[in-house]
Symmetry: C2
Subunit: 164 residues, 2 copies
């Protein structure tokens, strides 16, 4: 069986990447095809608006760049509006066009970076865990972040589609 | 590096299992701690009730047993109420207690089976894909089902928590 193991680890990794791709395609298609008016809709009475969810997911994707050791963020200015504060608590100066540009740029950037990482790099620690903590908790690796963030997208897409 | 590859494939698999575990714990804790009255709440006006989402996720978990080649289903009687038809279109004869018992039994059964499968078995085809189709699309394996179903749980949990 020598030589079969690297193929296996690639197959597991590819399932994770495929799952991310499905979540990104589904959410990207949904949000980028909404009108500015539709993006003002709330997912339920007194709950988040669509544009908040979209900005939130965009900011979380942007934060994956330093978290996964892939470089510096592009859009830290999203955090005060979409991460730190709840919806409608501060003025949102980002339009649907702004978010679409940021979303698409991040999607292309992350997807290219993701596909360039080796299986060993996916299993290395992410940047929010120290060397020492990683010794004790080796599951705190990049692949774990990928699966968690994929589920986070699915969580909010389940809410977003309630506006249809 | 001989010998490191099997550890790697195990690490990828463990991330997938961990992601499932987190989704199951979160959803199980949420649904089993709701009162019968709370389970009648809808996630948004004219949308699914909580009890429907819970029965739906329970039925989908039950369907994973034959799909993953782990044996026969326990509760096919859930499908007419929670899979085939939308909420409130047929009478629901399942109580919160019924669903909690089924949910917990399936959780324990699946978790034990999942942990007994080898990495190679996780990468083998699932039961809804033929040998021929699997040759062309080797990603249609058990691990892919695991990740998809985990995201499906997250999708509906995102909706369910809107009732709080």
């Amino acid at each position: 069986m020598t030589g079969s193991e690297p193929m296996s680890e690639t197959a597991f990794l590819e399932s994770g990447l495929r799952s991310w791709r499905i979540a990104m395609d589904r959410s990207g298609k949904f949000f980028t095809s909404r009108s500015a008016e539709e993006l003002e809709k709330t997912i339920a009475p007194d709950r988040n608006r669509l544009i908040y969810l979209w900005g939130h997911l965009t900011a979380v994707n942007d934060r994956m760049i330093p978290l996964l050791g892939l470089g510096a963020r592009f859009y830290p200015e999203l955090d005060p509006v979409f991460i730190v504060t709840p919806d409608r608590s501060v003025a949102n100066t980002f339009t649907a066009k702004d978010l679409a540009e940021k979303w698409n740029h991040l999607d292309q950037f992350l997807w290219q970076k993701f596909n360039a990482l080796s299986p060993a790099e996916w299993l290395a620690r992410h940047e929010e865990v120290s060397e020492e903590a990683f010794q004790a908790e080796p599951h705190r690796n990049r692949f774990n972040v990928l699966l968690n963030r994929t589920n986070h997208i699915s969580f909010h897409v389940g809410q977003a589609i309630l506006t249809r």
